[in-house]
Symmetry: C2
Subunit: 156 residues, 2 copies
């Protein structure tokens, strides 16, 4: 097995790193360890370690004290993750009507575990319902009455 696109299972966080490199790279600037650390809210040593691992898998290039770049394979993988993320976020935001910040956060955490079937369904669903009203407005109004649904976790 030569290990093409999706075969090497990347573990939760590896995909996050890949996606982050992709997104940061889109700004045109060189992607640095510090940028990644900040974006992922992680220490720089963690970034270095992750990059070493991804480098070993042929997904990123990272020269010492230099910039970070995605390889071709890394780019493909990253874009796949990124698309999934966008899809999910759009779904949560536009279809379910989840607040944007929450949608972003949840998308981050769900994007790695969706099976292809569910992704497909989601694609269609967004295509069809993505521009309508999120849920029903009558229900929305109910929520305006009570400040918080059930603030279990303190974390925002």
């Amino acid at each position: 097995m030569v290990d093409t696109l999706g075969s090497s299972k990347l573990g939760q966080s590896a995909e996050d790193y890949l996606e982050a490199v992709l997104v940061l790279g889109q700004s045109g600037h060189v992607v640095r360890v510090t940028d990644l650390a900040e974006r992922l809210a992680v220490s720089k040593p963690s970034v270095v370690a992750a990059l070493a691992s991804l480098g070993g898998k042929g997904l990123v290039k990272h020269e010492r004290y230099g910039g970070v770049e995605l390889t071709v394979r890394g780019t493909m993988l990253a874009e796949e993750v990124y698309r999934r993320h966008q899809l999910l976020q759009k779904f949560l935001r536009d279809v379910l009507g989840v607040p944007d910040a929450v949608a972003a956060k949840d998308a981050c955490r769900i994007e790695h575990v969706l099976s292809p079937e569910t992704v497909e369904r989601l694609v269609e669903f967004v295509r069809e319902h993505g521009n309508g009203e999120p849920v029903s407005l009558s229900h929305m109004r109910e929520h305006l009455d009570r400040p918080e649904g059930k603030p279990k976790r303190s974390g925002r």
Copy 2:
């Protein structure tokens, strides 16, 4: 903070164990390590370790070579997870039209990371759309034509 219901963050798998104890216990039988190991597709030592951890958190009682029981707090937590799981699975299955087996698997993996806001939205969405046709039938039919969308990962 005295650590009421949702405050102690339980880590991905802890919730799975809790939920499994709840479900297995509903059959009326004593819940054994072996049952849990089988249900969660995990080794028995893993179960024992997990139970020790959960025991330390006051969520389960497990006497050596004996049965496993949920404490009151454990039960509350487990039921919360279970409800979330059911909701998610119903959503995936009935609203999105994801095949049942996939819905179950994805629900398992997503249920731990949903924020309360998203859960609420999902509840409403299922309440409103849960009995209609999943996605649109026209699209469904497209899929019947091509056997697989894109079999990236070998897994289901």
